[in-house]
Symmetry: C2
C-alpha cells in the first residue's frame, strides 16, 4: 500500500536531517509555495482519503483522526493508524461498493457521489495528489528519495 | 479526463509569463530539483502512461509519439494527440483487459504484469505522479492554479 511507502520517505528525511544537522521538523513544515500546504498536511490529507474511501465504500463511518500531528513520529503514527484501519476492512465488505452513495461536505446541495465515481474521481486522484506533493516537497528540499521509492510492491507474473 | 486539465494549467502558465514578461519556455524547463525532470518531461511521461494503458489494455500496440516537444504549443499538441488516442478506444475494446499480459522493458527477466495489476500498480499511479509533479513545478514557480484545477469533471448524482 502506497501510504506505507510514505513512511519510508520519512526515514530518509530523518537521515538527511541528521546528516546535515538540522531539525527534521523543518521538512515537516516545508512547502513548495507560501499558499500551498506543508508536508504534515499532505500526509494528513492523503491518509484521510484512504481512510474515508475504505470506510464509505465498505458501509462504515470513517473513524475520526484529529489533525494534530506536529512531530515526524506523530506523522508516522497517523500513517500507521490509517494503514491499520484500511487493512481491517475485509474484501467482502466492499460488496456493492459501486452502488453506495457518498456525501461530500462541499457537494452541490442535494448531490452525492456514487461509489464508483467517488473511488475514481475523488479518492484515487486525491490520494495520489497529496502523496506526490509530499514527495515533491521532500525531493525539492534534497531528501534522498527517487522514483522507485514511489512504487509500491509490483505483482509481476510469469510471461 | 485529467490530461485535459493539464492543458488548462498551460494556459495559466502562459498568462503568467505574459503578465510577468518572461518566456513561458522557462516554465516548460523548470524543475523542483537538479536531478528531477522538467515540466515537458512530466507531461510526456503522463501522456505515455495514458497512451500505453489505453493501448495495451484494449489489445493494441501503442502509437509511437516522439519525445521531441520543446515549445508550449508542442506540449499542448502532445496532450491533444494523447487524449484523441485514448478517446478513440471504445469501451468494448477493453473486454478481458484484466486478463491481458503487459510487458515492461524494465521488468525482471521472464516477468510481465497482468492487466489489472498493470492498471492499478503502474498506469494509474504513474499518470497521477507525473501530472501532480507538473502541477507542483508550475505552482512552485507562481503559476495561478489551485486544487480545484486538479479535479476533472465530477459526476454528482441526486442524493
Amino acid at each position: 500500500m502506497l501510504t506505507k511507502n510514505l513512511e519510508s520517505w520519512l526515514d530518509n528525511a530523518e537521515e538527511y536531517a541528521a546528516a546535515k544537522k538540522f531539525d527534521v521538523g523543518v521538512l515537516m513544515t516545508a512547502r513548495l509555495a507560501p499558499d500551498m500546504k506543508p508536508v504534515i498536511y499532505q500526509v494528513q490529507s492523503a491518509c484521510d482519503y484512504v481512510k474515508a474511501g475504505a470506510a464509505w465504500l465498505s458501509g462504515q463511518t470513517p473513524p475520526k483522526h484529529e489533525d494534530n500531528e506536529q512531530t515526524i513520529d506523530e506523522v508516522r503514527a497517523r500513517i500507521r493508524k490509517t494503514v491499520a484501519f484500511a487493512e481491517s476492512v475485509e474484501e467482502a465488505q466492499y460488496a456493492g461498493a459501486s452502488e453506495r452513495k457518498v456525501s461530500m461536505s462541499w457537494a452541490p446541495v442535494g448531490k452525492v457521489l456514487g461509489g464508483q465515481h467517488y473511488l475514481l474521481q475523488m479518492m484515487v486522484p486525491n490520494t495520489y495528489f497529496h502523496i506526490t506533493t509530499a514527495y515533491a516537497i521532500l525531493r525539492h528540499n534534497g531528501v534522498n528519495i527517487g522514483k522507485m521509492d514511489f512504487f509500491g510492491p509490483i505483482n509481476w507474473m510469469d510471461a
